[in-house]
Every structure is written in structure tokens, then in C-alpha cells.
């Protein structure tokens, strides 16, 4: 294992966050605060409670999940795409670094950054609504699994994309709708019956449901199913990355 290389790439990526502090940390906090103002205060005052939890508190796990997913995705996809775009990827590909090490470093850095944002949002939310975390261990499990899984997915997108448009395509046109429709802001039991069934095809539902359960003990689907689907998603991402490195797809002609 080339630990120096992992460390180098990891801190290189983290240094980018430091340079773009406004964009990386401040903007997600601002947008979360806006969500609280709009959904929590303005609309939430008309929806008193969801499953016995005040609406403002109910959306906190969903908001954190939404940030974890989009941040992991954009950090990881940009992290690997940018050196491909500038051409500096040659250094990594010609260094004595294995693909596993490259993945650990890039995905680790992206997941760390999104986790930081997640923690900041949790702290911010604490100022707006009373929070309780019934199952802290499970909360951390879902928190970590989600940031890692979406960082892996972002890594795949960053390798697949040939231009900035493609880079934005998956996050904006697929993941954001799935996250919004996956119950970030509502319980799927609030939907008409037919849509409840359709919603179950959305993988994000399982992540949010499990995460919310760890806060309030309320879930749309069972914990086992949530965990199972999350692991399945993680495994699928790992398999795709394994395949990419096996074939040299878009990295080594």
C-alpha cells in the first residue's frame, strides 16, 4: 500500500476545499438555512406534525441526506474530472499507485468534505428546531454509508464525463429529483397509494427512511430493507469502479 500517495492525493483534494471555502462550506449552510426558512417556518407552520414529529424537525434528516448526496457526488466527480480535464491525471497514472489507492484517496476526500457539510447542517439545524437522535450509532452508519456511496457514484461520473455538461447531468437531472421525490421533505405515507408503490423504486427513499429512523424511530420502510438497499447500492458502485479500472475505461487507452 502506497500510503504516502493516498495521503498526497487526499490532502491535495482537501486543500482545494480550503481554497474554495465559501463555495464548499458556506454555501450549503446558507441553502440549508433557506430551506428551514421556507419549509420549516413558512410552510411548516401549516403542517403541524408528521408521524408525531414537528415538521421542522422532520425535514432535518432529509436535508442532511440531500446535502450528503449532492455534495459527495459533486466533490468526487469534480475531483477526478478536473485532473482529466487539465491533463494532470498523467502523474497519477504513471506513479506507483494502484487504482484502489487512487479510489480511496479521491473518494475519501469527497466523503470527508460532504460529511463536514452534513455535520455543519446538523449543528445549524439545532438552532432552528429541537433535535433528538434516538439511535446515534445507526445515524453514523447511514451518514457514512451515504457519503461514501455517493462519493463512489460521483467518482464514476467524473470518469465517465467528457465535458462539463455531462458532469452536471447526473447530479442535476437524476439525483436531485430522486432526492426531492425520495421523501426529503415528506413521509411517503402522505402520497396517494399508487405513488407510494412507485416511490419504492427510488433508491433514495431507503437512505432517507433509514436515516430518519435513526433520529425519530419513524421509518417509511423497514430498517433491514433500508440498510440492505444502501449496501446494495454501495456494492454496485464498487463493482462498476472495479470494472472501470480493469478495462482502463477513459483513463488508460
Amino acid at each position: 500500500m502506497n500510503f504516502h500517495a493516498i495521503k498526497s492525493i487526499y490532502f491535495f483534494e482537501m486543500a482545494r476545499t480550503r481554497r474554495t471555502l465559501m463555495q464548499s462550506i458556506v454555501s450549503p449552510v446558507l441553502s440549508t438555512t433557506l430551506y428551514f426558512v421556507v419549509f420549516g417556518a413558512a410552510i411548516g407552520s401549516r403542517i403541524s406534525e408528521v408521524d408525531g414529529v414537528s415538521y421542522g424537525a422532520f425535514i432535518v434528516p432529509g436535508l442532511i441526506m440531500l446535502s450528503l448526496m449532492t455534495q459527495s457526488l459533486s466533490n468526487a466527480s469534480f475531483g477526478i474530472y478536473f485532473p482529466r480535464f487539465t491533463g494532470t491525471i498523467y502523474e497519477i497514472l504513471s506513479a506507483p499507485v494502484s487504482f484502489l489507492e487512487v479510489t480511496i484517496a479521491f473518494v475519501g476526500a469527497a466523503a470527508t468534505k460532504s460529511a463536514l457539510v452534513g455535520v455543519i447542517i446538523l449543528i445549524t439545524a439545532n438552532f432552528f428546531v429541537p433535535l433528538e437522535i434516538q439511535h446515534p450509532v445507526w445515524m453514523i452508519v447511514f451518514f457514512v454509508l451515504t457519503s461514501v456511496t455517493f462519493a463512489l457514484l460521483g467518482f464514476i461520473i467524473g470518469i465517465w464525463a467528457d465535458n462539463f455538461e455531462k458532469l452536471q447531468f447526473v447530479p442535476l437531472l437524476i439525483v436531485t429529483p430522486l432526492a426531492f421525490l425520495g421523501g426529503s421533505f415528506y413521509s411517503i405515507t402522505m402520497l396517494p397509494e399508487i405513488w407510494q408503490k412507485v416511490t419504492l423504486l427510488n433508491p433514495v427513499v431507503y437512505l432517507i427512511s433509514g436515516f430518519r429512523w435513526s433520529f425519530y424511530g419513524q421509518a417509511d420502510v423497514s430498517l433491514a430493507l433500508s440498510l440492505g438497499m444502501t449496501m446494495l447500492f454501495l456494492l454496485a458502485s464498487i463493482l462498476v469502479i472495479h470494472r472501470i479500472f480493469k478495462t482502463g475505461y477513459k483513463l488508460k487507452p
Binding site: A15, G87, T88, Y90, S94, A95, P96, K252
Partner: protein, 308 residues
Amino acid sequence: MSSIISVRDLTKTYDSGFSALKSVSLDIKEGEVFALLGPNGAGKTTLISTICGLVRPTSGTITVGGHDAIKEFRAARQLIGLVPQEMPTAPFEPVLNTVQFTRGLFGLPANPALIESILKDLTLWDKRDNQIMSLSGGMKRRLLVAKALAHEPKILFLDEPTAGVDVELRHDMWRLVDKLKERGVTIILTTHYIEEAEEMADRVGVINKGEIILVEEKAELMRKLGRKELKLVLQEVLSRIPDNLSGFDLVLCAEGKTLTYTYDTQSERTGITSLLTALSDADIRFHDLQTTQSSLEDIFVDLVKGQQ
């Protein structure tokens, strides 16, 4: 000298079906400066990229310092520093960080003293805190060299190190190559500039259309293929070469104002004396003469043309 890089029957066919390398075999000796010449698209960069691990070979083997470049890629790549042809740089990174980053990639602990001396050698130390995008083209080129040297490689690949750089930087590069060679670093450079190969290389390889068509000691190559030309500038215009001179390899040019005699410097008799005697017999007078040696460039052009 033993060979530090050994390439055997290497082929590379890209997914598009283009075969960039056709069964290339090549040995690079430890400590030499090897110049790889070839026209655009000949396979120079593909060959280098395959050895460095940027391109996956279709078949064949590569060993670097006795290590298989694929099975023992860590040991093999540890020995190699690569300065690519394009100048890919991370625009927002500070100079010093990016050089330290490269050293880290090669699994080595930080060594500030070494990095400082490399940057000073390449006159980049004053720029160490600048963002890369603020550097000039020549500085970026030097920065890429600094990065390639950050892990103290035993082999340095310079892919067209002087393409599009000014004369001063080109001479700086040459001096750098000399210095590295003294330290025992093996250097492989690709170039369009024959002058460069002539100046620096110990051995020359010519690649064309994915095949190595020649590998030779530079001096030997110049000797073997070296022809000399004797140019005689005539006092009076000649309409044709007189019959008594037909035995000589003469060409009348410049509208009959010059006679060019081509001869082999290696043969026992160059025929110059008898030519001059014959000229005087034919009463042809000349007011100037000059001799020129064919350069590596002529040799190269001949070779590539000969293959077509």
C-alpha cells in the same frame, strides 16, 4: 553497460483499430542519452506512454530495471520520471505544493531540502508560492521537469522537451540533460529537432509508422551514412557536364553555375584529386569551393523516405 529498459515485441492497437506500435523491440542502456526520432504520429509518444504505464500494451513485454512494467508496476514506475509533451498543470496550485505532491505520489516522505535544490536548479525557487497559471510557458516546462525529478528517478523521459520553447530555454534543457547524465540518470528524449539529437544523444533510434527502423550509436550513424559534398562555384556557366568528367558523381546546379560532387568520406580514395585534375584538363575554372557533411537530418529524411 547493461540495459535498464528492455522492450520486447511491443504492439499497441488502439480501440479505433489504429496500430500505433508494431512489434517494437528496444533496449535502453543504463546511463545513456537516447534520442528517439520520428515524424509526427510515428509512435514516439505511444511508446513512451506504454513504458510509463499511461497506455496499456496490446501485447509484448516491458521491463524497467529488471521489473515487469505491469506485474511489478510499483518497482518499475519508481525508477521513472516523465516530462510529458503537452504541458498539463493544475492552474490553481502553488508551485512548491505541486512538486511535493508528485514526490508523495511516488510513496516518498517529504524532503524539503531536496525540493528546494531542484527548484533552485531550475530557477523556480523564487516562484515557489506562485500559482502555476501565473507562470510563463518556459517556467511551466521547467516546473514539469522539477516534478519529474522530485522522486529522484534513475530514468528520465523527456517527450519533446524543447517543442515551442525559445533558444535560451532550449540550451538550458541541454545543459540540464548533461548535468543529469553526469549523475548517472538515463535519459530518453523524443524530438523533431535533429539538431537536438545530434547535440545530446549517445544513441539514436528512428521510429516511423510504429516500427523502429534503426537504432545506432550516433557517431557510428553519422559515420556510416555520412556523405560529404564538395561544391564548386564556377567562373563561367556550364551548359552540360563535359564528357571527360562523366566518371564522377557530379551534378550541375544553380543554372550551371555550381558543380556538386558527392563522395564518401570513409572510402580509401575520395576522388577529389583526380576530379580537380580533370577539371583543370577541361579548363573549367572555379572561384570558390566548399564542403559540407550530411547532417543527421539528411540521414533521417533519407531513412523515412526510403521506407515509404
